[in-house]
């Protein structure tokens, strides 16, 4: 490393820990270079960090996966992990310590809430045939679709827009249906749950659940039961365990000194 190369402190996550001593956390490869992970402590809290070249880290695939893989690794060793978003580099360990001191009141409250818990994600996407059959039941949409058929896209421009509006209403009502049929029973099994905006028009549910690590298999079973019931109509995309990203919402503004 050149002497002039400035370094900064990249932070990954907060943890609860009894020991002030540096734990052996392992290494992370940052843009081709192996860096040692270390912790910066305050009371029973610590932030997991690495010393890296001071620069802007672009959210490309390698960097994103680097961030996620470190948090994953820490989750295997520690049951109380508060994830931090991608790409934060501080000037010095002292700055991170100040940050941690300021965050501590929130950490203190969060630790018992998330101890031993994981996040599981479930996205539900409607199958095209099912969506088409559901809109086929809608007489108005059928008529409008017929009116559009055979016309050029330009000639039927406004009709197509109206048709799109009807289709959107249908998708919205299907989203409600899926919420009741799939999300509600799963919500009852979880400590907490959250619905995010669907990504794309065919997605009917984009949900995250906060689950006790011990209850993961039970939750898997429940998801499978629902999947068996719905697999002809929708596709499930079930993922995890994740750090509890969807259940931590701390926004910090750091002002220039």
């Amino acid at each position: 490393m050149s002497e002039e190369q400035q370094t900064g402190i990249y932070i990954f996550c907060g943890i609860q820990t009894d020991t002030e001593a540096d734990e052996q956390l392992g290494h992370v490869e940052v843009e081709g270079e192996e860096k040692e992970l270390f912790t910066i402590h305050y009371k029973d809290a610590a932030i997991v960090a690495a010393e890296v070249p001071m620069k802007i880290y672009h959210p490309n695939k390698d960097n994103l996966m680097m961030h996620q893989s470190v948090i994953s690794l820490i989750m295997k060793k520690n049951s109380t992990v508060i994830p931090i978003s991608f790409g934060n580099v501080f000037h010095s360990k002292e700055d991170v310590k100040v940050l941690l001191e300021n965050l501590y009141p929130q950490f203190e409250k969060l630790f018992p809430e998330i101890k031993g818990k994981i996040e599981l994600g479930l996205k539900v996407v409607g199958k095209k045939e099912w969506l088409a059959s559901r809109i086929g039941e809608n007489a108005k949409a059928g008529e409008m679709a017929k009116a559009v058929q055979g016309k050029s896209e330009a000639a039927s421009y406004y009709e197509r827009i109206q048709l799109g509006g009807v289709a959107q209403q249908l998708v919205t009502s299907l989203q409600k249906e899926i919420q009741e049929e799939l999300f509600t029973p799963l919500k009852e099994e979880a400590h907490a749950s959250k619905i995010n905006d669907p990504l794309g028009e065919k997605m009917l549910l984009n949900a995250a659940f906060l689950i006790d690590r011990d209850k993961e298999e039970e939750f898997d079973r429940k998801v499978n039961e629902l999947h068996d019931k719905w697999e002809d109509k929708v596709e499930f995309s079930y993922s995890g365990p994740w750090p509890v990203y969807n259940f931590i919402n701390i926004r910090l503004k750091v002002e220039d000194a």
Binding site: C13, K55, I56, H58, P59, N60, K61, L64, M65, H67, Q68, S72, I82, P83, I84, S85, F86, G87, N88, V89, F90, H91, L99, L103, L120, G121, L131, A132, R134, I135, A141, I161, L163, G164, G165, A167, Q168, V171, L199, G200, E201, K202, M203, D220, V223, E231, S237, Y238, S239, G240, P241, W242, Y245, N246, I250, R251, L252, K253, V254, E255
Partner: protein
Amino acid sequence: MSIQKSTDSSSLAEVIDRILDKGIVIDAFVRVSLVGIEILTVEARVVIASVDTWLRYAEAVGLLSDEGQEERSGRTKGNQLSPLGM
């Protein structure tokens, strides 16, 4: 089991969905820049005009044929925004 969970490292889209704007989010200091973002594969993040959205809804439920779809997606490519939105 009929459905398996995908693990946290197997899907870039799932990772992006979480680590960019969730958890503890810090503005200012050294913040990621918007230049050079490689998320072109994440179609869901595409921000498009409202009329196009409605047409896409219609396509999604099979009301419109797929003709013209390519043209539209070509047109919206320039509008890809980063999920950072800042």
